[in-house]
C-alpha cells in the first residue's frame, strides 16, 4: 500500500521534476541511503526522522553518550536535509 502511494506520488510529480532534470530526494530516501554509514560511526545507536522546533522534518542521529569525535564527523545536512544529533543513551530491550 505504501509502495503504491509512493509510485502515485512519483507519477504525479513526474513532468515537473523531469522538466528541471533530477528529482530531489525525499528525506526518507536520503535517510535510507546514508543510515548504514551513520550507524557504523562510534556510539551511534539510532537514525530516524523527527521535527525541528519550527516543525520542519529533520534526520535525527541518536548517540549512546556524548561523543565529540562522532559529533564532529556527522554532517550538519545531507543532500539538503538538516541533521540533528541527540544523546538518547544505550537502547535496551525492556
Amino acid at each position: 500500500m505504501r509502495l503504491l502511494v509512493a509510485v502515485l506520488l512519483a507519477v504525479s510529480a513526474g513532468p515537473a521534476a523531469f522538466g528541471r532534470g533530477e528529482m530531489p530526494a525525499t528525506i526518507q530516501e536520503v535517510k535510507t541511503k546514508h543510515e548504514t554509514r551513520l550507524m557504523a560511526m562510534p556510539g551511534v545507536v539510532s537514525v530516524g526522522i523527527g521535527r525541528n522546533a519550527d516543525g520542519q522534518p529533520v534526520i535525527v542521529v541518536g548517540l549512546d553518550r556524548e561523543r565529540p569525535e562522532t559529533r564532529a564527523t556527522v554532517p550538519q545536512e545531507l543532500e539538503g536535509h538538516p541533521v540533528r544529533i541527540e544523546v538518547i543513551g544505550p537502547v535496551r530491550a525492556q
Binding site: S46, G48, I49, E69, R92, Q94
Partner: protein, 332 residues
C-alpha cells in the same frame, strides 16, 4: 449543622446499613436532590445498582432518615480494589505482568485474533525468551519476578514468535585477511590515541521489524479483552510524527508520550552481548522501564498503534502495530 452528630450516627449505624444487600459504601456528604447539591448533610449510601423501592424487600431498603440524619442513595457501580499490575489477574487484561517461565517479567500487551481465536500478544523476549523457547512452553501471569509459578499461575502456552536476528560478531579466526585489516586499523587508532577500535561484525541480511510473539490462553475466560487503566480498544491506527500515545505496563503503569521520530533504525541490546538492529520503528520520549516490554501502545482515541519493546534513559522504542499484525498474521 454541626458535623459531630451525623458522624456519631454514621459510626453507630454503619454495620446495619452495610448489611443491606447492594450497599457497598457509606459516608457523609451533602444530599443531592433532583440533580442539585443541597446544604443538607446526609449519610450517603453507595449502591452497586439503584433499584426501584418495589424491587427491594423492607430489610434491604435504606431508611430515608436514620436517628435524625437524612440519607441519600447514589449508584457507584461495584467497587473493586485497585490492583497493582504485578499482581495475579483472572481474567487477565492487557497491562499486567506476564512472561515465559524462564524470564523475569514483561507486560501482557492485549488480545488479538487469529483464525477466530483470541491470543495474548507481547514481545518475543517476554513470551519466547528471545528465541530460546519451544512452542508450547508455559507462560505465567504474573511473571516469575512477581512470584508467578508454572504450577499455580500458568495462563497460556507459547503459540508462535517472530525470530529476532542478532548482529553476530565473527569468531576471531574466521578470515585471516579481515583480521589483518582490523589489526592494522586498530594499531592506527592506537597511534593517533583515538578511543575508537574496530571489530569484525557480520551484518544480518534481514533487519528486524518486530519483537513479537503470541500465547494461547489455556482457558478463554482467563483473559480479558481490555487494557488495565485504559479500557476497551477502539480498533487500530497508524502513528505519525506528533501522535499522542499512551501505554499501560507492568512497571510504570499508565504513562503518556508523543511520537518524536518515525522511520527509526535502532540497535537494541538484549543482554549477554547480543544486539539486534530494527528498522521502521517509532520513537517516543521516556515513558517506560524494564518490565514494561510488551505493552500495547494506543493513540488518543484508544486505537492500537504499536508494541513497546525497548528504551533508553530518554527514549521509548515501539514496533508499528501494522508490522506486528502482518508478521504474526493476526487481526483485532
Amino acid at each position: 449543622m454541626d458535623l459531630e452528630t451525623p458522624r456519631s450516627v454514621l459510626r453507630q449505624a454503619s454495620r446495619e446499613l452495610l448489611a443491606r444487600r447492594n450497599v457497598t459504601a457509606i459516608g457523609l456528604g451533602y444530599k443531592v436532590t433532583a440533580g442539585k447539591r443541597t446544604q443538607t448533610l446526609s449519610i450517603i449510601c453507595s449502591v452497586a445498582r439503584k433499584l426501584p423501592v418495589s424491587a427491594l424487600s423492607s430489610p434491604d431498603l435504606v431508611p430515608s432518615i436514620v436517628r435524625g440524619v437524612v440519607t441519600d442513595v447514589i449508584e457507584t457501580g461495584p467497587i473493586r480494589a485497585l490492583q497493582a499490575p504485578t499482581g495475579r489477574f483472572r481474567p487477565a487484561p492487557g497491562g499486567v505482568s506476564v512472561g515465559h517461565r524462564d524470564i523475569t517479567a514483561g507486560t501482557l500487551g492485549c488480545l488479538v485474533r487469529k483464525g477466530g481465536e483470541l491470543f495474548i500478544l507481547s514481545n518475543n523476549h517476554v513470551l519466547a525468551n528471545s528465541n530460546d523457547a519451544q512452542i508450547g512452553d508455559p507462560i505465567v501471569q504474573p511473571g516469575s519476578a512477581d512470584g508467578g509459578t508454572v504450577a499455580n499461575d500458568r495462563i497460556a502456552s507459547l503459540e508462535a514468535f517472530v525470530p529476532i536476528s542478532f548482529l553476530v560478531p565473527e569468531p576471531p579466526s574466521e578470515c585471516p585477511f579481515a583480521r589483518g585489516v582490523i589489526a592494522v586499523l586498530n594499531a592506527g587508532c592506537g597511534l593517533i590515541r583515538s578511543q575508537t577500535r574496530y571489530r569484525i561484525v557480520s551484518i544480518q541480511a534481514t533487519n528486524n521489524l518486530v519483537d513479537a510473539a503470541l500465547a494461547r490462553p489455556l482457558v478463554a475466560a482467563d483473559v480479558k479483552d481490555e487494557i488495565l487503566g485504559i479500557g476497551a480498544i477502539q480498533g487500530t491506527a497508524q502513528a505519525a510524527l506528533g501522535t499522542p500515545v499512551k501505554k499501560s505496563g507492568r512497571t510504570t503503569g499508565l504513562t503518556t508520550g508523543e511520537i518524536l521520530q518515525v522511520d527509526v533504525t535502532v540497535d537494541v541490546q538484549y543482554g549477554g552481548g547480543r544486539t539486534a538492529r530494527f528498522t521502521d520503528q517509532l520513537m517516543a520520549g521516556a515513558m517506560s522501564q524494564g518490565g514494561d516490554s510488551g505493552s500495547a501502545v494506543l493513540d488518543g482515541e484508544n486505537r492500537l498503534v504499536g508494541l513497546l519493546f525497548a528504551g533508553s534513559d530518554n527514549s521509548t522504542i515501539i514496533n508499528r502495530m501494522e508490522n506486528v499484525f502482518a508478521a504474526l498474521g493476526v487481526t483485532r
